[in-house]
Symmetry: D3
Subunit: 112 residues, 6 copies
């Protein structure tokens, strides 16, 4: 699981670095971002799946890794992951396939 660990360490370190500037706009954006995935009219699980599909069609591997971890922690099953990734594949086209490969690599590295 070291690639995921490396990503999480890097992500945490750099986010702390960014927030250490105390730039008001950036700080508020990070808070807003965290808040968007909290339980509301939609469940956390649904929101994280929305984040995963948005990340896949926009083709951002780091964002895909992050949302797969969040989804896993909220109990998303393998079959649910595949269905969500399939929606992203159909909407986003074959240009998303390298990101599908990335997603599967992350899924397979994770403790099930």
């Amino acid at each position: 699981m070291s690639a995921i660990d490396d990503f999480e360490t890097y992500r945490r370190k750099m986010n702390e670095r960014i927030l250490s500037t105390h730039h008001k706009g950036i700080t508020r954006f990070f808070n807003l971002d965290a808040a968007a995935y909290r339980e509301g009219a939609l469940s956390e699980k649904t929101k994280e799946l929305l984040g995963l599909v948005a990340s896949t069609v926009l083709r951002c591997n780091d964002c895909i890794t992050y949302h797969i971890i969040q989804c896993r922690d909220l109990g998303v099953t393998r079959e649910e992951f595949y269905d969500a990734l399939n929606v992203a594949l159909v909407v986003g086209g074959s240009i998303t396939i390298p990101h599908l490969r990335h997603a599967f690599q992350v899924l397979d590295e994770m403790v099930p």
Copy 2:
């Protein structure tokens, strides 16, 4: 509700026109697209919300209109729409705001 009606009429007419060519690749893509939103490991409702958020971050008004109609038919509530659109806004940024305006216009034109 005429703007939505116009869209649906145009969409149906042009899709029929496209399929009338019997191009094998295009026909199969359209079938695949329809199949991606059918009940599976994830519910139709969740899948349509995934389609709506993907359409919003990719900034396609016609796709937004289409998925709002599908979501409405599957019982998505106003508060659920707002939560999904908020995820899209945070992921996709202020560049999605014109599409948020479009989404609200469609929501307000629809029979509740």
Copy 3:
């Protein structure tokens, strides 16, 4: 100047409609968006030019119209507009040309 007036009226009306839902995430995003262009380490004028170029390479006509109006109110000259749009054209490629046409149409409709 009616096309610009129409845009401003529609934009104001729909933004009010969106904010009338009092969705906390969306409201905070709109505030954050407005704050990003306020005088800081960079001048308002520079920030609005950044907004204009970002809007052009991301190919959003409504965003282009909005930032041109803001730039004009802050005294951006014709030659400055052309230089900024040229950077956007070179970065974003010929796919931005239809948006360059839109930008020129807005520039020519504005009171100089």
Copy 4:
């Protein structure tokens, strides 16, 4: 064929307006753009098909209209158009479908 005529008139008028500024960078870009599609190692026809597919996956209707006209003038057949659009659809995904509808509308408006 009036929608295509309107587009061509508007495009010509606005391009002339843009070039009337004599901005050196913009002028050179327009020349460069025209030159890219001239006969070279690849034929004009192949280059225009490349332009059409690039325009479709980047989802620019005006660019699609323009390259369809150019392709038609170079003798691209209906079946060749469909094959090219199918590549764009598979690469770019269902988000390109509204642009496929636009492409078919332009194709059907053109003198065959």
Copy 5:
């Protein structure tokens, strides 16, 4: 030629992994993707060039590598590659230049 070999090994391994899930939608998409580049109204060579340009303007290095290999196997010459990449550069702008560098690196690693 090891970077290309590594890519091909990884690509094959991960595609097999993805297909091993037997997800119906994903499997059908992969078949559709392969079919889009088969000889039809347009030649395989033209279709692979379309795939290369689409991949470049959408800025996907793995997709660029893949289509360059396919083009090479179909006899695309150096000058034809340059002409196709130039169309992509003009359409997609300077933001594609890092991908142009990638494309040239792949071209130079390949057996001519």
Copy 6:
């Protein structure tokens, strides 16, 4: 500062390689690209900030590295960088955050 040095060495080497083909269109594009950032109605500093924000919303790490170096050479301060990156973050959304992390890493590697 070795990551930046490596990037600059690779960038220079590959650009020379690309230009060594003497492809007329590509050569002219590279000249046009360099010219777009020269002092004109807008200062070099403003133009490089435009390039940085365009690169960030289009999510190109190599382009971000390049424009940060240029901005630094023109005396852009830390606070000005943060303000520009904040505009990019708000316009482009959370999908740009991995590129914000990259930008901060480059900023911290540079001689102040």
